[in-house]
Amino acid sequence: MKRSKLKSSPRNPSSPEPERLQDLAAIQKLMADAIMRPLDDDSRMKKRWADGVATKDVANTFIKPNDRLSSFERLEIYNRQYWFRILDCFYEDYPGLRVVLGESKFNNLAEAYLSATPSESFTLRNLGARLIPFLEAESKWTKPHQKMAIDMARLEWAQIEAFDIRSQRASSLKHLAGKAPSKIYLQLQPYITLLKLSYPVDEILLRILKDDDMLRSEASNAVELDTGPAVKSVAARIRPKATHLIIHRVDNSVFFKKLTLIQYRLLHALQSGENLEDACETAFKGVKATASHATKLQDWFATWTSLGWFCLVK
């Protein structure tokens, strides 16, 4: 991930020019730079500014002290609140990644990611929006588990997306009846994600979410989680295994479901814009055709349409 080359990025702000501190934009830029700087190892505000001057001198230029707190201490309240808030949110959004990496590595990753890619959204819901490219670009935070970590991050982000992304009018079997397969184009609902993973990380997540009916079934991420030793040992034992998943929602609750390779190929081909006939060919490529395939297809589509996965392409 490319980092900004601006001299005054949040991790590398230069100390203020006093004459500019009359201006609202300049004050806000300086304060934002200060409160978005990572805390030190004791979760306190760093004593030194990025360019080496004392942070207390920077704070003194724009924050008034009072009879109990210095300028530094007053600014520090905001600096700590900022980090506690976004770390808490990130922590809640990625229980699976926490288990994959362990608490200490996860904390280092969280700080590195949130420093490099501060929130650009009005809602904390989008805090993890740029995590996957970050993990792909910066393996040092996840090694030797980079692939598994990326798999888990993709699964957890897909859940966040499935929770509240719009749906379109679902198509039913009735819409398909009587049409030639080469004329049928189906699109997956916008809230659905198909995942092809190297590790069966869904098995870890199912252990963490004590009851899979609870997957984001409420209007927040607040579900009862188990990240204890038993779950950690499952994560430690997990081995690479090609895994195909669909993350979807039913009655506004989020679920993930394992797919066979053929099912994944079929849904992926439809999502990529192939018509039904071509998508079936893609899905069954290299597989000896049998009479049971037609029955299987009928069963799959009956289930998938009942779950509302498809919308018709206009």
């Binding site: 924050i63 707190l69 501060p118 992304i165 609750s253």
Partner: protein, 280 residues
Amino acid sequence: MPANAFNGFTDYGIGIGLRVPHYSHILEKKPTVDWFEIISENFMVDAGRPLEVLDKILEQYKVVQHGVAIYFGSAEPLNREHLKKLKRLVKRTKTPWLSDHLCWGSVDGRFTHDLLPMPYTFQAARITAQKIREARDYLEVPICVENVSSYAEFHVSQMTEWEFLSEVVELADCGILLDVNNIYVSSKNHNFDPYDYLNHIPHHRVGQVHIAGHSKFKKYLLDTHDHPVLDPVWKMYQHAIGKVGKTATLLEWDDSIPSFDEVHHEALKAKKFTAEPVLA
């Protein structure tokens, strides 16, 4: 001033914040509540459970939107995408007025997700008021701005907080969401008399009042919304109601949230002070 232009000429009584732990209780038991306040940003989504719950609530209850991320006080322009989503929600809820904070929180597209204090300057007041006007014209709903709790003050400030609030709302011709707890917290943190604040704001502009609990640390108070309302805040509330009249009041309880009944019971204590206000 129970009903005025700044709260859409409504008389809403005592409300509480709509919070996730209470959803099932509210939807199943349908308790009698004057109104609910929602955090706008939690419902500015395209689909899913939040909107399903909101629609069910709207069938039964009056709802008022309260925002945390317009950032009227940020030096940068209003975010049009944000406003579009907000307007969609305004149409859904038919909120008679809408509130957000007199604060800033984003710079260069980076969001702090905090309610940061303003430098109390005339420049800041002008910028903030202009943005409130723009938002109101676009959203087509009255706006009340809420005073925030703060832990820092700026050297550059040219006036007191209540003078700044008054300057902004007069320039913007908007309402005030008077957070009595926030005044108390800031008064302790910045050594001013909270009654000076209450006495010197334009009372006719108060469209809504907030009450809440806070936490005491060794050297400062923190606005935590995780406690019942403390006695000094109730006293200030009584004084405020004496000044502004019986006004729509909301209890905020956002952390360590107890049962619905406990929160509602705490909110209803406000009735003791709103029953027969004597205008000062």
